[in-house]
């Protein structure tokens, strides 16, 4: 099982839909894909959709945190949604829930950022 990454941009927000497993190996690929878009387009906010993500370890936290610092520089917001219980546990442990916005689904996230 690897990671498949589906990216699209709506207004100033990058949508990141992940399917598969996010570990150290796949996180490097994900980071490069996101960064190349961040370089080319005016992106302020990021929405991570973990609906089809079956596994994530601390490498995932590293990627999210890295992207958080990028959007923060642009005064943007990072939203994560569709967390399963295991991913929620790791995000809780990381303290990320204090600096990120967590929503139930992508629709809620879009509404929150006004890009629905």
């Amino acid at each position: 099982m690897s990671l498949s990454v589906h990216l699209f941009i709506k207004a100033d927000t990058l949508f990141v839909r992940l399917t598969g497993e996010l570990d150290h190996h796949t996180s490097m690929h994900l980071r490069d894909r996101i960064n190349s878009l961040m370089d080319k387009f005016e992106i302020k906010n990021i929405i991570f959709n973990f609906r089809n993500l079956s596994f994530m370890d601390s490498s995932g936290i590293g990627v999210i945190l890295g992207r958080y610092h990028q959007v923060k520089q642009k005064k943007g917001i990072l939203v994560v949604c569709e967390l399963n219980s295991m991913i929620e546990k790791i995000i809780q442990l990381s303290g990320l829930y204090k600096i990120l916005v967590i929503t139930k689904d992508e629709e809620q996230a879009s509404n929150y950022l006004g890009v629905a």
Partner: protein
């Protein structure tokens, strides 16, 4: 009383990032006959993923090497041992601190050892500079059920 060992597996593989998923699959496959809960499988997968990733990134600094994974099962108990022959950890107490990492530039979160400690019922780590690191964790399966059985 020490319970009798039911099953044993030992796998040696290259310390390359592709093998993080491979190590998780080995562990998941090994515990499957013991009828673990989804949470138990996920916690074991996370533990082994963190340990193997540490060996690849820190012990061998992405230059490759060998990792030995040993899995043992007892009646209601799984033991996982991850051994590398890399550079070893200089300061174990600091390494165990939450969010401490020697590689922030690689976006490491510094959570690996803490996650392993939290998801395991018992956690041991020993390391020797220039010789390598051994991580051993024990996890009881169906522990909550047993209490009320």
């Amino acid at each position: 009383m020490k319970s009798k060992r039911n099953n044993y597996a030992e796998v040696i593989f290259d310390a390359i990032s592709e093998n993080e998923a491979f190590a998780r699959i080995i562990v998941a496959g090994f515990v499957m006959p013991l009828d673990p809960t989804i949470d138990e499988i996920n916690e074991l997968k996370t533990i082994v993923s963190e340990a193997v990733t540490n060996s690849i990134i820190h012990a061998y600094e992405n230059k490759g090497g060998k990792i030995k994974l040993i899995i043992e099962s007892y009646i209601n108990e799984i033991t996982i041992t991850v051994i590398d022959y890399g550079k070893g950890i200089e300061d174990l107490n600091r390494a165990k601190e939450l969010f401490y990492t020697t590689k922030p530039e690689e976006e490491r979160s510094g959570m690996g050892l803490t996650i392993m400690e939290i998801f395991a019922d018992e956690f041991y780590i020993s390391s020797k500079i220039g010789e390598g690191t051994i991580i051993k964790v024990k996890k009881y399966l169906h522990y909550a059920n047993e209490l009320y059985a």
